[in-house]
Subunit: 345 residues, 4 copies
């Protein structure tokens, strides 16, 4: 039984980690921290846990957490994670960091988008936690930088095409749409029901912080520098990201060709499904599961590859992927404890 | 491994049975019928099953189904179930009928609300499948009449008070609100997104067919005839029923007293949770789970007991309860394969 | 042209007043105050006003407002209104107060539910601003206490039956459901999209502050003391209140009889519509309009009158009714500037 | 008073025409046809009209309609309009056709996307009813082909940039998202509440019938042939379209430059608002109004112009624009009877 600790467990991401871990047959949650809710039972903060977990939020230190847990998940804001991660590593713990702090390998790039990095020496320790691309390295990692939600959908959506050099690297546009849970549980006007329901908007157009992370990973796949246009939008729904991705083809290909390429690439993946040619996934087919569903076509009139990729932002886009990484790091079967059929309707 | 067949498997209730059974460790679905989708893979009708089930809808006869399955679930319209049930029983199968056909023990009452009953001789075979009230009888039943969604919420919401004779039997009002999935997947104007979203309405006021079922079971608890007012409403959400129930007290009691009574009554129940005194459940705390959550208080100004009970109408209100019954009928642990933490947010 | 000032204009109620007044042919908004947004253009806080209004929120004093406006709307929290109202009256202004401060005629009752009243001497000046009951007194009022949203739906829903002494006064139960805009625009966890969407709950069961206001007005209609059970619920939608009201009949009557009684009572009302017997209103039929729609039936099995009344909580339940009152106080046609066809779908 | 007839008045578009016309000071609806609801009062089909309109749906012939009305709106499926339009023109009526039948000037192109055109001789009579581009021609038109909903948002979103030759014509990608009312009121599984709520999907990727209409109009603006990628998506909301449009710049420009270009282009337009540089419109700012709101920026990293344009698909995208055209054709002030402040929240 893996002893798991969660640092920053009271937001939606932390709650989702707890939900998945409570039902995980190989893990046991030994502590979950929250400053705001220290001393409050989990079931009072999230009544879904009533009768299922006696956990009480705590406010223990890094040291104390390190003394109890074997694996630590950090669900903290960026800039805060970087303080705790080196301590956990020094204590010999396995760490899965859900913040952005260790995702960007180039320190200057990180600092251009996020601000100063105070643990730059630890960045090179981190493995980018996308199992579909880095499974072997994750297995032996001490520190996994868990991917961002938007990046997960876009990188999985383009990996087969980029790896095969099918698309022009400077032609990529990612038009992404996310549910509101991505904004977290902090009270703010923009996240109020009355502001969101019946509305839809683009935000941070051309300047969202996930951009360097996406470009880093797409560049690695393409073996060259990438510059993409990335536009996030806010959907009036709770969970899920759908990314519509456009790229100009470098070759003649049909939608069937592209689908075949993708199906081959993801043939053995437990959590990626490629739709039949001409079909596109609905967000609702993955909400509640750890799947990424992908549909691919070719717009022959304009010679563009068009990809639609969907994930549950809290599961494959955050906490589910984190547990997928934990499973790999701890030698468990990769699928352990991860939901595989969406809740529909 | 129990061999399970589903008759009428393409509506939301059938889909939910399949979703739960695909993940059930002790059951194997051997066939699911659908006239409309005969020959079509389940994963084409409901893409959530892609990669998880190779099942193809079929249109086999009762005889053929009886030759393959040990336990048969019927998710058919009322009036249709009554034709098939006696045949399955004659073939020695265990049957769980999700229609209303065998819930009403008094044939005249059934016919007054639903129309002619053509298998009246079989009614007395049926056990009303509410495990919290009839667990032992369900264990040995050959035919379980699975409760309606509204009745489940109202009967569980009033059982402790009625059993203890705390409330006047003719004072009961049940104001219930249901999500849209209760209306099924048949295309109709009233179920369109544009008609439902942002709207809310009462319907079939004082004349909903669940009334005799509710009164039958409440009367059994109260050991007397019951006449209630029951008003169903349609909520702009997909899953869930919340019933607010009012009844005049026959005695002096506080909300704490009532809560204690309820907690004692449901002490050992795996799927009923009573909220602390003064707290009321949110629908979202049970959606995706088999729980019924209940909050109780006393309005001292008017001497009324007020109960709020919530369930997921497709799970505890239909398919989850059906599987709970199957577990009991087949000697499995009652909780097997049933989800216990809601998907939130 | 009536010169109108709004005190507390940046919440949803204030915004709705502004929306209606900008389109009102007989009124001109001279100032709207907001501490938070002083100096900020209305169109920056609410982009719907871009190109339609150059108004800038201000933070002027009561004196300054009194020097500019002829009629003042107060959209302030209870307890704050009571400080400003006497000053506006002393300055000879007409005042429409949307808070609860002057709705309760009995000071002790006000203080039991809301806390100390510091302007008790002014209470008797106030006319309860429900035009359907107090039209003539509103015409000559200097101070109108604009009704609460829940009370508007419940009082209009019961007035004909109580006035005709058709129902037992101690049998009344009001089960009300409101959209989220009723909770205002203050950021709080309970109003977040992720907490509300897909959920539904009762709150403040038996202890909501609108209770004494409802009982006062129902008592006046019934010519006797009233004690009701009132349960508010939170709907996953933005606008609208639906109240389902139950009362035991004192006489033999059918749904047709009750409908006839209601149609006669509201025959000349411009903003109340009674549905044909057996039909019940959907919230979506009034959202965006100043209407109250009502459906009535009799549950003959239990001898109860059941009434369903719907309003848009921000219009007939607040700002629209306030303008209806302004029209009456200023000698304009009552319907002036008030929307009469809901936005559907 | 203009005598107005509506052919095909029972869908959402017809209903919206009726809603706007009932409140229009210069028009009077003399007849609205519906095969399905012939003989049924409008207020029974859409209760929002109760007390506001005594209209009864009828099933009169083209001849009969022509004898009653001066202006006829056709809200019929494509392929059906083309039969009636020539008859109305022959009878000397002004016609506003909301179908696609007369939007495409090139018959071959129409037939490639829609099927055979049986009134090709009438196509050249039609003026494309986008007042912002063709105001003068609309004023004198006998037949206006009212634009499609997606095209309206995309053409208005790109017109200033194309007209100024700021963007490469073959670089345009339009990623559009529409509410469900665009699918009409016909019952179908894909439009059910349970299928839509909480979901989001792309559909008809690269093959939506609005493509040739968009390319025709963009081509006219750019004075050259256009080939675009157009991807429609289905949003979980009732009303509104948001189009995110990408195009590579042919020159060096900032977001401020682009905003200035757009503001100048739309300076005198009553129904187009350009947001300040760096700001993007929310759908909820136009829902219920006839506005098109536009935000523009330049992604300097990739040298792309990014435009976000929003409309209410039933108003500016259909019925509101139709009435704007009627106003122009009949010599009324263009804004007459058109709503200008969105219903928010």
């Amino acid at each position: 039984m893996i002893k798991v600790g969660i640092f920053g467990g009271s937001g939606y991401t932390g709650q989702e980690l707890l939900r998945l871990l409570v039902g995980h047959p190989g893990a046991q949650v030994v502590a979950a921290t929250s400053r705001r809710f220290a001393g409050v039972p989990l079931a009072d903060v999230y009544p879904v846990f009533a009768g299922r977990s006696d956990l009480v939020y705590t406010d223990i230190t890094v040291e104390e957490m390190a003394s109890r847990a074997d694996v630590v998940f950090l669900a903290l804001p960026h800039g805060v994670s970087m303080e705790a991660v080196p301590q956990f590593l020094a204590a010999g713990k396995k760490v899965i960091d859900l913040s952005a702090d260790f995702r960007i390998r180039d320190q200057a790039s990180y600092e251009a988008w996020y601000g100063r990095h105070t643990a730059a020496g630890t960045i090179r320790e981190a493995v980018y936690g996308l199992p579909e691309l880095y499974r072997d390295r994750i297995r032996s990692a001490r520190l996994v930088a868990n991917p961002g939600c938007y990046p997960t959908s876009i990188i999985l959506g383009l990996a087969p095409a980029l790896k095969a050099h099918w698309v022009e690297t400077h032609s990529v546009i990612a038009d992404s749409k996310s549910g509101v849970s991505g904004a977290g549980r902090e009270p703010q006007i923009d996240s109020l029901y009355c502001e969101v329901d019946g509305g839809f908007k683009a935000y941070k157009v051309g300047r969202h912080r996930h951009t360097p992370e996406i470009e880093q990973e797409l560049g690695a796949l393409a073996e060259g520098e990438m510059r993409i246009s990335f536009t996030p939008h806010l959907l009036p729904l709770k969970r899920g990201i759908l990314s519509t991705i456009y790229a100009t083809l470098t070759r003649d290909a049909t939608g069937e060709d592209a689908t075949a390429l993708y199906r081959e690439f993801y043939r053995d993946e437990p959590f990626v499904r490629v739709r039949p040619a001409g079909q596109f996934p609905n967000l609702s087919s993955v909400v509640g599961s750890n799947y990424c569903d992908i549909g691919v076509t070719v717009d022959r009139r304009t010679n563009r590859l068009i990809v639609v990729a969907v994930i549950d932002n809290l599961i494959k886009g955050a906490s589910g992927q984190a547990i997928q990484n934990m499973n790999l790091m701890c030698g468990l079967k990769e699928e352990t404890g991860l939901p595989r059929i969406a809740l529909f309707p």
